[in-house]
């Protein structure tokens, strides 16, 4: 499983519909300070079901919606390759879409069809994909990992093993 495509609209600084088509190998994202790079990482975590505003670097979920635009919702779609079928869905590509409205209501879609949040979580868990997996390393978090105490490290290993 890898990330084929990411589409954002109304999510943080991405007011307009934006698409990133990733390659299977080595993708790099660059740009000036404040241009929106880390917001892309947040968008991936959002689409994968993260419910922690803090890990999306905001105080409340509603602040994820682009400020200053007329459309009052945030929508992120992530398309995952599923050639090896590790996501228990009968299609080679799996697109998960998450929408957040201004009043806080959220909707999830799988390949365009409405689905519940729990169902998405189960599908992703089956393929060991999680929005807060250790394979996602947000900006500045390496320092926290490096300065862990030996007992914190033991706790971390026990959670993984």
């Amino acid at each position: 499983v890898y990330i084929l495509k990411l589409e954002l609209k109304g999510f943080k600084s991405f007011r307009d519909h934006t698409t990133l088509e990733f390659t299977k190998g080595f993708n790099a994202i660059t740009g000036k300070n404040g241009s929106g790079k880390s917001n892309i990482l947040d968008a991936i975590r959002f689409a994968l079901g993260s419910n922690s505003p803090k890990s999306l670097r905001e105080s409340r979920m509603s602040r994820l919606i682009n400020e200053g635009s007329r459309n009052k919702f945030a929508r992120v779609s992530i398309t995952l390759s599923n050639e090896n079928g590790s996501i228990p869905v009968n299609s080679e590509k799996v697109t998960i879409t998450r929408e957040l409205m201004e009043d806080g209501t959220q909707r999830y879609f799988l390949n365009g069809k409405r689905i519940t949040k729990n169902a998405i979580e189960d599908l992703l868990a089956a393929a060991s994909i999680s929005s807060d997996g250790l394979n996602i390393v947000p900006q500045g978090s390496l320092n926290t990992i490096a300065d862990m105490s030996p007992s914190d490290r033991m706790q971390l290993l026990q959670e993984i093993i």
Binding site: F22, F26, N27, A28, T30, S128, S151, R153
Partner: protein, 156 residues
């Protein structure tokens, strides 16, 4: 429970040794504070760079810690290797030499797992198969695919 932990612990330690050697000239490993009763103690993360003495992670330099942490994170993935990796400026503390080495390592690694790397350094960007440039105009972010030759000019 203890046996299962020790077995996994040794596997992670082995992966850490392999990965670290691929990034820099040196060694890294894990040690149990209390080998007889592992859960009564902590886990030490040790790094040895070049011909220097081995040291616990907390008393290494900023750049050394960054390299060691990346190797450790990749070694402890629950499903190994992970489907994809997303790294946000993990090279911020690295000097030119270490950034080059980390870039080479990630290039190799990307043969078996997808990598999405956010970086400001040309050394890293030049190794990628595809580069995205993110721009901001009046508070609105836009993304365009970049040719690597164009990136170097942009960065200046």
């Amino acid at each position: 429970k203890k046996e299962a932990f020790i077995k996994s612990f040794e596997q992670i330690d082995k992966r850490l040794r392999e990965i670290f050697k691929q990034i820099v000239d040196g060694n890294a490993w894990l040690e149990l504070e209390n080998p007889d009763n592992p859960f009564d103690g902590g886990v030490f993360l040790i790094g040895q760079f070049g011909d220097k003495q081995p040291r616990e992670s907390a008393s290494l330099s900023g750049g050394e810690k960054a390299v060691l942490s990346v190797a450790f994170l990749m070694a402890i993935q629950s499903s190994y290797p992970a489907n994809f990796y997303i790294f946000d400026e993990i090279d911020a503390n690295l000097d030119a030499e270490k950034a080059e080495k980390l870039g080479n390592f990630l290039k190799k690694w990307s043969m078996s797992s997808q990598i999405i790397l956010i970086s400001l350094k040309d050394t890293m960007l030049s190794k990628a198969d595809k580069v995205f440039g993110v721009y901001e105009r009046e508070g609105v972010s836009q993304v365009i695919p970049l040719e690597m030759s164009k990136v170097s000019n942009e960065q200046q």
